[in-house]
Amino acid sequence: MEFSLTKKQQDYVEKARAFTKEWVSPNATKYDRSGEFPKDICQEAFNLGFMNPHVPKEYGGKEQRVLEHCLIMEEICTGCSGIGTALGSNGLSQYPVIFAGNDFQKKKFLEPMTQELMFSAYCVTEPEAGSDVSRIKTTAKKVGNDYVINGVKWWITCGSVASWYFVLARVGDKATGFVVPADTDGIIRGVKEHNLGQHASNTVRVTFEDVKVPEAYRLGEEGDGFKIAMKTFDHTRPGIASGSNGITKAALNIALTYARGRRTFDKKLISYQGVSFKLAEIVTKLDAARYMTYLSADMFDEKKDNARQAAQAKWYAAEVAMSATVECCQILGGYGYTNEMPAEKLMRDAKIYQIYEGASEIQKMIIVGKLMRTREVH
């Protein structure tokens, strides 16, 4: 058992930390207030090699391990998880292609993303189908050598800046995955949603009206879609957990800094147990969440089944981030409630981690599902 980072991993962390301090944190408020997509920061992240880390080497990528990606995402999300989501969400749509795409599809859709800054989006969620993906209503009808897709996809991250989409649609009653170029006729991109947090992340509705997609753009066989969509989460959930850990780390640092500097009743705030114990709890929970995250990522890298560990990490890290940000605001008192301090933004940003890529309740269902197939827990 090894608990320390390798030299290479430590280098990644330091590079990502420097990038966060220089680019992400100083611009977090700006993008949170404007709701603009942080393309300039994504460009810088692309130049530094922080985007598209999972693309295989033969298609121009670095084929980075998930664990290393997690370390980087944790640093970036300590600056701003909205920006982190904007520059990390490519992975969610790329993985179905990496996992189930053929050589032609990988060359066509993955390779260009390693050459210039591009975005892609994962179109699975629908207004009536969130956690329960099997309820999707989007259809794909076979017409000659093409499929014609009709339906509405909802809360699509990077939906209005994407160059292509991974789309889950029903062919008859079989959920099937497709890669759809964004400039195909019949695709209508909606306006940006005004969400509670992560304002830098571009979340939109994408409507498909008689969108013709060649058969060559279908991923795997008809009916493979659900498996592809779900398998993707084993890969991405450790990254999402790292985002939560980044938020927790930011909340901890801000609360700690404030508690050390602020005086009340002629004493430093940190000298009160009511405050200092909160910090002790946050840092302990952060370490626990981190180890769970790193374990789930490492298991994926070692090609082990990490479904339970990824669900545990995603759920627990999100809970820790939410409670840590609430406590951070509490420690800052009134200043935690004003938008001129970074604390309230963290609380708004943290909430989504309990919801997207499978709500916390879904993660528990996955964990229990795995437990039910286990004779004994060792």
């Binding site: 944190s25 100083p26 930011a250 801000i254 404030y258 602020r262 004003t338 001129e340 970074p342």
Partner: protein, 237 residues
């Protein structure tokens, strides 16, 4: 188109701001944007607008301004000369620019229509009046800006304790530039409008007029920025 232009202007302003201010943060009490360089050797600063004493910390690139005191006995000058003086150049210079612009339009129209002060009664009667009024407005605006500069400097020393806020440094620099450019326009004005209207007879005349109008535009920009920054310093967001 308009939004693209606004974005471009915003980008330019941000680059300029980053150079002058470095990283910025907001006063958590009055929301005034302040620079990381506004702090003293102890990492503290007094907010120039709301007077709270801020202890500035940075963690992971996030600024955490901590308020531990308020400077309630701030020196208040009995007469606030600067706010009054500042409205003289701000009020007069735009009209001087309008006058110069109108004279330029008359000159261009006259050039194409063959109208001059010598052969047209309207030009003969009105262009010297507009010219004189413009020069007078320009001269008063520039001279009064020296008074504004002086009163502002006194205000900074007394009211703000001479603390080196970046926003005040910016005001001092811009005021100095305005004063120099403004004086140049006063000197150039009689040369450019020596015949009441602009003479396009020689390349030197044209060049002088171009330089004059560039200076006028630049001075107006300085003045507008100074007014905006000054208003921001007094009223906040």
């Amino acid at each position: 188109m308009l939004s693209d232009m606004m974005k471009l202007v915003d980008r330019f302003v941000n680059i300029f701001k980053k150079r002058i201010y470095g990283k910025t943060f907001y006063c958590p009490v009055c929301h005034l944007e302040l620079s990381e360089h506004d702090t003293d050797e102890n990492g503290c600063l007094v907010c120039p607008l709301c007077s709270v004493v801020i202890e500035l910390h940075e963690t992971y690139g996030h600024f955490v301004p901590i308020v531990n005191d308020v400077e309630i006995n701030r020196v208040q000058p009995k007469t606030r000369m600067h706010p009054m003086a500042t409205h003289l150049p701000i009020g007069l210079f735009p009209f001087a620019l309008l006058g110069a612009g109108f004279l330029l339009l008359l000159s261009i129209y006259g050039r194409f229509a063959g109208l001059t002060v010598a052969n047209n009664p309207f030009y003969a009667e009105y262009s010297p009046i507009i010219n004189n009024v413009t020069l007078l407005l320009l001269a008063i605006a520039v001279v009064s800006s020296a008074l504004t500069f002086l009163t502002g400097f006194v205000d900074w020393r007394q009211r703000y304790g001479g603390r080196p806020y970046r926003v005040i440094t910016l005001k001092l620099i811009l005021s100095g530039i305005f004063l120099v450019i403004g004086l140049m326009t006063v000197v150039l004005h009689p040369v450019v409008f020596n015949a009441g209207i602009v003479s396009f007879d020689s390349p030197i005349d044209v060049l002088t007029a171009v330089v004059y109008f560039i200076f006028m535009g630049a001075a107006m920009f300085m003045l507008a920025t100074l007014g905006h920054v000054g208003g921001y310093l007094v009223f906040g967001k």
